[in-house]
Symmetry: D2
Subunit: 261 residues, 4 copies
C-alpha cells in the first residue's frame, strides 16, 4: 500500500525522500511490508534512528505487531525524537482513493503535527494513547472482519445449496441491518469463485492467529474466531494462501475424494 499512499502525498505537494528523511526532514513516514522490515529500517545499521534527534518525528504506518511497535518506539524516542505508530485500516483500493483509516498511538503532539498529512492520505484518523494500541486496534478490527467473512461464506453456500440465488442473498443483505461494504464488494466475485487479491488470505489468517494470542493473553474466549481460523488454515492447505481472503469460502466446499468414489 505504500505506493498509492506515497503517490497521494506527492500529488498533495509533499515529497518525502526515504533515503535521507531521518536527518533531512522534520517528520519521517515509514511504510514497510512487514514487522522485520519496519524494525530494520527504524533500528538497524544506518537505520532512521541514526538520523533522528530531538524535535524530529517518526511516523510508522506499517502494520506491525504491538511488540515490534514498542521496540521501534523505544529506539526512536531514545534519540530524543518523538514516535507515532499509525497502522492503517483499509487495503489497496482505499489507499489509492485516499480513504484509509489511521489508527495512531504514541506521541500526541506529533499526532497533531502530522494530522494534515494523514488527512491527505486517509479519510479518518484515531489517536488511541500508548504505543501498541494502534496495532491492537487494527488486529481487533481485522479479527472481526475475518470472522464475518466466514459467516458470510456460510450464508452464500447454504443459500445456493437450498436452491436460492446467492446473488440475491448479496442483494438482500445489502439492504438491511447487516449490510457492509465488504459483502457488496466481494460477494459477486465469491459467487463466481473468483478471488482477486486485495488482502491476501495468509495475512488474514496471520491476523487471526495474532488475535487469538492477544485474546489468550487476557483470557478472553473468542470461539467464532477460533472456528474461523481453522477454516483459513484449511484454505491455506488448499493452496489459497496468496488469493484474496474471501477464498476462505473454498474451505467450506466439501470435495469428493477420488479414493472414496
Amino acid at each position: 500500500m505504500g505506493a498509492p499512499m506515497a503517490s497521494n502525498l506527492i500529488k498533495a505537494g509533499y515529497e518525502p525522500s526515504p533515503a535521507e528523511v531521518a536527518s533531512s526532514c522534520d517528520v519521517t513516514f515509514a511504510m514497510l511490508a512487514d514487522p522485520q522490515s519496519a524494525a530494520e529500517v527504524a533500528c538497524g545499521a544506518d537505520g532512521a534512528a541514526e538520523g533522528l534527534a530531538p524535535g524530529k518525528g517518526y511516523v510508522d504506518v506499517s502494520t506491525v505487531d504491538g511488540a515490534t511497535s514498542k521496540l521501534i518506539g523505544e529506539r526512536i524516542t531514545s534519540t530524543g525524537a518523538s514516535f507515532l505508530e499509525a497502522p492503517v485500516s483499509g487495503s489497496k483500493k482505499p489507499a489509492e482513493d485516499g480513504l484509509l483509516i489511521f489508527l495512531t498511538a504514541g506521541d500526541e503532539s506529533l499526532y497533531k503535527r502530522v494530522a494534515p498529512l494523514l488527512d491527505v492520505m486517509g479519510k479518518s484518523r484515531f489517536y488511541l494513547g500508548d504505543v501498541g494500541n494502534g496495532a491492537a486496534m487494527k488486529l481487533v478490527v481485522n479479527m472481526v472482519m475475518g470472522s464475518m467473512m466466514v459467516s458470510f461464506s456460510e450464508g452464500l453456500l447454504l443459500s445456493e445449496k437450498v436452491g436460492l440465488d446467492p446473488n440475491t442473498l448479496v442483494e438482500v443483505i445489502s439492504q438491511g441491518a447487516i449490510s457492509a461494504p465488504m459483502f457488496s464488494l466481494k460477494g459477486p466475485s465469491m459467487v463466481k469463485a473468483a478471488y482477486p487479491t486485495a488482502f491476501p488470505l495468509k495475512h488474514q489468517q496471520k491476523d487471526l492467529r495474532l488475535a487469538l494470542a492477544l485474546a489468550e493473553s487476557v483470557s478472553q474466549s473468542i470461539p467464532t474466531v477460533a472456528a474461523a481460523n481453522e477454516l483459513y488454515k484449511a484454505a491455506k492447505s488448499l493452496g489459497l494462501a496468496d488469493h484474496d481472503f474471501s477464498a476462505v469460502i473454498e474451505a467450506l466446499k466439501a470435495k469428493a475424494h477420488s479414493s472414496q468414489q
Copy 2:
C-alpha cells in the same frame, strides 16, 4: 411488527379489516406472531381459507418456517385463490419507518398485484420463486446476522480487555469495509451492557437452530454458526432469552464462581 405495518397501510389510505378480509377484500394480508397462529388464521375453523375463492389473493407476511408456509400455501390455493409468502427482513424500527424488506415467494402475478402495497410498507421487495424460498432466504440472512453479532461481541470484549475503548472500536468499524448499520446501532448500548429488545435473543437462537437444520438437510458445514449458536444457548441459560439478541455478549464474559473463590 404487525401494528406499525398496519399503521403504515392505514396512513396510506388502505384499511384492511382482518375479521372479514378473506371474503370482502380482493387481497388479504396476514401478519401473525408465530407459525402456529399463521397456520390457524389461514387454515383453521373460520380461517381465511373459508372466505377465499378464485380471483382473490392471500399474502402472509408472518415469519414462518418453510414447511408451515407450504402447508398454508396448499390450503389457500385449494380454494382457487392465489398465495404469496412475504416474510419481512427488519425489526420494530424499520417497520415503523416503512423500511422493511419483503422476501416474497409463491404466485408471481399476486406479487405484481400487491407490489404497490408492499412499497408502502417497505423499502424493497424480492420475488424468489416457489413457496418456501422466502422463509429460507430470511433464515439465511438471520443466520449471518446472528453469527456476525457474536464476532462483533468478541471484538468488543477483546478491545476492552486489552485496554482499548470499545466505543472507539465501534467508531473505527463504522468507517471501514465491515461497517454495518447493526454495529453502529447496537454497539454503544452493548458497551453499556444494555440490551433493549428489538429482536429477542430467543428468536435469534431459534433461527440459528433452524439454519443448522437446513444446512444439515443439504450436508453443508457451517462451523461459525454452530459455535455462535452455543453462545446464544448459554445466554438463554443466563436468563437473557427475552433481551435483545445483542445480549449474547454476556455469554462471553466469564463470571467468577462463588464456589471457587
Copy 3:
C-alpha cells in the same frame, strides 16, 4: 444387532417367536431397526399392544428417541402390561460376543424379571428410572463418542503431518490415561484410510444432531460437539454416510481443488 442378540438368547435356551410373542409369551423383546419400525410393531395394527394384557411385559431394546419411547410406553401400559425401554450401548461385535450394555428405564419390577435374560445378551445393565432416560443416556454416551472420534482424528492427522508415525501415536495413547478401546480398535485402520462399517457415520451424525437438540432444550452449551457435528456433516457430503463413523477423519483432510490448480 437383532440377529446376534436373538442368537444368544436361543443359544441360552430361550426361543422368542416375534410373530405371536405378545399374546403367547410372558415377556416380549422387540429389536427394531429404527423408531418408526419400533412404534409400528408396538402400536400399529396387529401390533404387540393388541396381544398384551395385565401381567405381561414388553421390553424394547431398539434404539429410539425419548419421544418415541414414551409413546410406545404409553400404548403398552394402556393394556395393563408393563414396559421397559432397554436400548443397548455397543455395536455388531459386542452383540455377537454377548458384551452389550443395557440402558433400561420404565417398569422396575419388569427390569428385575428380565435381568437374567439381559445378562445372557450383555455384560452389564443399568436401571435409569422413568421411560426416556434409557434413550437419553445412550444419546449422551454416543455424543461423547462422536466428539472423541474427531479429537482422535485431529491427533492422527497432526502427528502424520509433522512427521510422526500415526501408528505410534495409537500405541502411545493405548498406554496412558486416555487409552480407550475405540482408539485401539479403529486407529490402525483409520491410518490406512479404511473404514469398515461397525457404526455408520450417518447414525453418529444423527445422534449428534439429537444430542444438540437435547442440549438446546436445557440451554446447555456443548461447543466441541457442535464443532464435531459440522465435520460429520462435511463427511456426509463427501459421500461417506454409510462408511464407519471413523471416516469423519476424511473431512479433516483438505483436498486440492482442480479449479484452483
Copy 4:
C-alpha cells in the same frame, strides 16, 4: 514429577547427584520444571554441558517444546556427548507408581544404553527418531487429552441437566468402547465440582496453544481442539488456572449475572 521419579531410581539402587553428574557420571538425567530451567541447567553458566565429554550421555526428561529441545541437543552434542530427549506422558500418580511412558528421541545408542533405567521409572518407552519428535508426540497426546476432557465435561453436564445421574454416565462409559482411565479417575470428583490438581489447567491450556501453533505450521485444521482451547481460556479467567485441568467443566456452567437479575 522429578521427586518420585528420582525416588524410584534411588529405590532401584541408582543414586544420581544432580550437582556433579555431568562430569562424574556416565549418563546424566535432567528433570526440570519448564523449558527455561531445562535450557539453563543444560546450556547455562556452569551448566551440564560444561562437564560433558565424548562418551557421556545426557537425557532430558523435562517437558519442553521442540525448539528448546533442539537447542539443548545442539549444545550437548557440541561437547561430543550424546543427547536423548525423553519427555514423559503421565502425571504425579503414574510417576510415583513407576508407570510413566517415555517418548524419547535423539541418539539411539544412548536410548538403548538407558533403557534399563527408563524401565525402572516407567512402564513403556518409545524411540521416535530425531530430536524434537518426543516433544511433538507428547504435545499431540496432550492435545487429544485436552479435547476429550471437554467432550466428557459436556456429557457430564448434559446428563445432569436432563435428569440423569452423571455418576451413572461415568459408570456406563467405563464399560464400553470409549472407556478411558482418565474418565473413571476424574469423573467422580468432577461431579462433586472438586478438582485436586494432578495436571494444572494452565499447562493443559498452554499445550493446546502449542498444538494449535504446531497444526498451523502444517496448515492442519483441528476445529474441536480450537473450540476446546477457548473453554480452557474461559476457565483460566474464572481463576481456575492452578486447579486440575478437569476444572474446565466450570467454563461450561452458565452462571447467572447479578447485573441481569
